[in-house]
Symmetry: C2
């Protein structure tokens, strides 16, 4: 399959065969990962691979017990990492400059570029993957479990393995709903209604509204899936962890 | 070229031919972008494309005047965007829940996945690209220029166009220097010396040290390229902008 079709045909895979990933194949997709662009070629990230069966079970607890964490051939956690660079700078009498918020933000971008390259490479090799947003909810617990030192914060986690399902493509908003030319054209009410119409009218969306007993699809997100109180609590937790991890020395 | 080789052969392109990108081709790479994974399929991002010659000149000023911004066929700025989702939720009487730090961090990951998919697709279509880290330094000015409303923060910018150069592959640290299995193995001094040895001994690195009149390569980064005082100033600026943009309502 050519690369464009590969990207257009992406589905997240949550069910995996009990088949381990060949060491060579894993190395190849990790190599493809680190070939991604990164700021100043400083490589301020680290990749932690979990494959041990018992360790996957423990790690799954920090990802809301999602079964795919246990079943996947590998769980890959990509971290912003200024620890390695800091150690190099200190050894070279260069001081340090990266324990602040700018470099956390920069690092999240760089770590995600690595992760997405790994994902694209994995699919090219016949593997499937799924991102786990839970890594940002439980960053301190996951950092503790992976024995991350200060200066290292986990920001993406993917499960990777041989697919045991072939789900339908999920919908997307129409391209014109997310792309702007020259200037951001802010959305009128009728724009919003038009952009979200197809999504709201999908049989799956209607079924979800029925099952969850809400008035509409939007309420499933704000009232059930990603609630304000949870989001506020997890925002505080994440910011506290950035302080502890030395990414908030902004004075 | 197969996808793995495409990823392994990536070079950032900073010189572009004076050849515009066909509308169909641009649409195809943007479509490949939005097919990327995203949290809850909420698509909390927007893509702003700058192609107008005068606008590119103005935008370049916010990217330290880098010429590639003017010369590229398109400058693509990808933003975390809770504005569109918020408007949908309000129209549906669902309240809102995403004006906090967790969703900024989540959004940076999602926006970067889109961006990197666009990058991979661009290369597959014979185009080249380069990431501009300056977007995080001057996010408020760029937001103002692109007329972004509250709830929309630019986090990645890439220049895209037909390559007019074929630079050498840049080096990377050895894979074992950035990958950990099961647990993070913190680096001893000798680990650091070993991991950075090849990079430090490149002719290009040695030339840079000579030209910049520093003791070593690390000092070029901390004393010239990315200095602490600049980083601290830009950290404050970025955090202030997150407050203004309604991503810091964490109570």
């Amino acid at each position: 399959m050519n690369t464009i079709d590969l990207l257009l045909q992406h589905r997240s895979i949550r069910k995996y065969k009990a088949q381990s990933i060949e060491k060579e194949k894993l190395n190849r997709i990790l190599e493809a990962g680190v070939r991604g662009s990164n700021t100043g070629n400083m490589q301020i990230y680290s990749i932690v691979v979990t494959q041990d069966a018992e360790r996957k079970k423990e790690l799954a607890k920090h990802h809301f017990g999602q079964k795919m964490v246990v079943d996947a051939g590998a769980v890959v956690t990509v971290c912003v990492d200024i620890n390695r660079y800091h150690k190099w700078c200190m050894l070279r009498n260069a001081g340090t400059a990266y324990d602040n918020f700018l470099w956390f933000a920069t690092g999240v971008v760089d770590a995600t570029i690595v992760t997405q390259n790994i994902c694209v490479a994995a699919e090219a090799e016949g593997l499937g993957f799924c991102y786990l947003g839970t890594v940002l909810y439980n960053a301190p617990e996951i950092a503790n479990f992976l024995e991350l030192p200060k200066g290292v914060v986990p920001v993406t986690t993917i499960t990777v393995g041989y697919p045991d399902e072939m789900p339908e493509l999920t919908e997307r908003l129409p391209l014109e709903g997310v792309v702007h030319y020259e200037r951001y054209n802010d959305y009128s009410d009728s724009d919003i209604n038009r952009i979200f119409e197809e999504k709201e009218n999908l049989p799956f969306s209607k079924e979800m509204v029925k099952v969850n007993n809400t008035e509409n699809l939007a309420q499933i997100f704000t009232q059930i899936r990603y609630k304000k109180a949870d989001n506020v609590m997890m925002s505080k937790k994440l910011l506290n962890f950035l302080h502890e991890s030395c990414f908030m020395n902004n004075d």
